[in-house]
């Protein structure tokens, strides 16, 4: 039955309809669609936001000190209010988005690459090396990540690069373990054994047969991890051990606003909303990815009436 279902997909149209399919499947899950749209918006703001803001939004403006939100007198830039130095919170959020996404994004990417690399070795080679790699990962993983980051950043200095490295380091085991588990499972599947029986090289087995099948899980994990890493970074910033001014992240903004809680709650409130919405979106998108990338679940989101 299912053979006929996909018969319409010709060679040439396949690539085009694939993109359309992804979009359709995204559209079908409204939560995921909104999440994806929101994440794209945040990324757009992070890249172009600071440059399209009107002049003066980021300079001190004593007349606008702690200006309340939803007051359009000073123009739309002040819609979310202003901070204790009279800078537009909206503009600050845009700048903060840049640092927050950059730090979380690079930490996730570094951890993904390193974790996958060692996970492949541990899973594919196995043996003593595999055991040692896994043991090291367990040591890092068994210790609370925030505590680890605290002492490392205490000893080193909390520059952006160090924050990224610490966050990446503490998350490597997550990818490593997942990747290893996937490899161990995929490696035993018959198509891999078939390739081995054909005399395929190790590179071919790993990069053509094993990795492409492990990638969906790793991508889903990376999306989930993006939320987790962003939260860790925010916590570090909040505790004053993350990036330091003049750099600004959303977590730092929440921390800066703490002193004005009784008089100007919006200083801490909006950046927290930004963190929460971004993390929730990433989590929802990860849930969707898990459904889409699992062939057994995918039908849930495919076109109706086709099967």
């Amino acid at each position: 039955m299912t053979d006929v279902a996909h018969a319409g997909m010709g060679d040439a149209r396949a690539a085009l309809s694939r993109t359309a399919d992804v979009f359709l499947m995204l559209w079908r899950d409204k939560f995921a669609f909104v999440s994806a749209a929101f994440l794209l918006f945040v990324i757009y703001v992070a890249i172009f936001g600071p440059s399209i803001l009107p002049d003066g939004a980021l300079t001190m403006n004593l007349r606008a000190r702690n200006a309340p939100p939803f007051d359009l007198e000073r123009g739309w830039v002040y819609i979310l209010g202003a901070d204790n130095l009279g800078r537009s919170l909206l503009a600050r959020l845009a700048v903060g988005a840049r640092y927050t996404l950059l730090i979380a994004g690079s930490a996730v990417l570094i951890a993904l690459v390193i974790g996958t690399f060692f996970g492949l070795i541990a899973g594919y080679r196995g043996g003593r090396i595999g055991t040692i790699i896994l043991q090291l990962a367990d040591i890092v993983m068994s210790f609370p990540s925030l505590l680890l980051a605290l002492i490392v950043l205490f000893v080193l200095s909390p520059q952006v690069s160090n924050v990224v490295l610490v966050l990446a380091f503490s998350r490597v085991p997550v990818y490593l373990r997942t990747c290893r588990a996937e490899v161990l499972e995929i490696r035993e599947r018959q198509f891999v054994v078939a390739a081995k029986a054909l005399g395929a090289s190790h590179a071919r087995m790993v990069f053509l047969h094993i990795l492409p099948n492990a990638l969906p899980t790793l991508m889903t994990l990376a999306t989930l991890e993006f939320a987790a890493v962003m939260l860790s970074e925010s916590s570090l910033s909040f505790l004053g051990l993350g990036v330091q001014a003049p750099a600004v992240t959303w977590g730092l903004m929440v921390s800066d606003g703490r002193g004005y809680l009784a008089t100007a709650w919006w200083l801490s409130f909006w950046p927290g909303v930004a963190i929460s919405l971004t993390a929730i979106s990433a989590n929802l998108l990860a849930n969707w990815l898990r459904t889409v990338l699992d062939p057994g679940q995918r039908w849930r989101l495919e076109k109706r009436g086709e099967s």
Binding site: F31, Q135, L136, D138, I139, V140, S142, F143, P144, S145, L146, L147, L150, I151, V152, F154, V155, L156, A227, L231, S234, S235, F238, L239, L241, G251, V254, S255, G257, R258, L261, A262, W265, S268, F269, G272, I275, S276, A279, I280, A282, N283, L284, N287
Partner: protein, 305 residues
């Protein structure tokens, strides 16, 4: 059974040892640990004398041996602030954090098991969808922000809860709330998915076919099996409690290990930081063993493995 425990305990011990090594080398990464252990304005002569007394001028391997011996004698140095043993500071603060974590964990697990199980009963139903969204949000919202919003609402606007100290049970409400939300969100998701799997598992069907009462099928058969992954994740979450405790104790002025840690960082009091990390690591070591025991009780396959 014996083999399983030997192996798991050895693994936990290796992790503990790994951390000890990590802290040792971290302290020496910046050069002389004397710089970390002494106030910034200490004269060079005092530094040199301190280094010599603690053997910081000797080869790395000698230093490491000495460090291990000091650890086994529970000698973790002295606080810069008041000259008391660093370990005393940590042990004084530890029960507070333990109690805070205990309550947060208890509430998390209770809510997660009840909500997750009900949601799993009708996957895709209204309750499930609402519970899933709330638990996902709970796992996504930063706890320090929840703390601040909590203070804003309950202390600043309505003035019903205190913001700092430990005097009355009311003082515990906000810290515990801040601490339990994230683990609760994570655990609810785990309970839900493993309960869905258990409820549709063949052994559940067999139990129904044998005429076992529905209540026994759900709580005796499905939930019992669904608990296995929950125990593992709950163990991780319990170990991660210290992450949340740092935040909650800092914001609410709670005299626990988390607060002590942050204060020590402010004062650059490395001996206390090191002691706090060690004590936490040892606590996690015992936690892991406890989790392994619970797991083995729940799963006969592990016991006989």
């Amino acid at each position: 059974m014996g083999r399983y425990f030997r192996q798991r305990t050895l693994q936990s011990a290796l992790s503990l040892f790994g951390l000890i090594v990590l802290v040792f080398f971290l302290a020496r990464l910046t050069g002389n640990p004397a710089d970390l252990l002494l106030p910034v304005d200490t004269p060079q002569s005092v530094r040199d004398e301190f280094s010599a007394r603690h053997g910081f001028d000797q080869p790395m391997i000698v230093q490491f041996g000495r460090y291990l011996i000091e650890l086994t004698q529970l000698d973790m140095g002295y606080s810069l602030r008041d000259g008391h043993p660093a370990l005393d500071h940590v042990l004084a603060a530890f029960p507070t954090t333990l109690l805070l974590s205990f309550w947060a964990m208890l509430i998390s697990l209770t809510i997660a098991i009840v909500t997750g199980s009900i949601a799993a009963w009708r996957p895709g139903g209204l309750f499930d969808r609402i519970a899933s969204l709330i638990s996902l949000a709970g796992a996504s919202v930063p706890n320090f922000w929840i703390a601040i919003v909590g203070v804003l609402i309950f202390a600043v606007w309505y003035r019903v809860l205190p913001t700092s100290g430990t005097g009355t049970p009311l003082h515990w409400v906000l810290p515990v709330a801040v601490l339990f939300i994230r683990p609760c969100g994570v655990l609810t998701q785990v309970v839900r998915s493993s309960m869905i799997a258990a409820l549709s598992a063949p052994y559940t069907k067999t139990a129904r076919a044998r005429g076992v009462r529905t209540r026994t099928v759900i709580f005796g058969h499905a939930l019992r099996n669904a608990m296995l992954p929950v125990v593992t994740v709950a163990g991780d979450q319990a170990a991660g409690m210290i992450n949340g405790a740092v935040i909650a104790e800092t914001i609410f002025g709670f005299p626990g290990v988390g607060r002590l840690l942050i204060d020590s960082i402010m004062f650059r009091d490395f001996a206390v930081i090191q002691a706090a990390v060690m004590v936490t690591a040892i606590a996690i070591f015992f936690l892991n063993i406890g989790i392994d025991i619970i797991y083995a009780i729940l799963d006969p396959r592990v016991r006989h493995g």
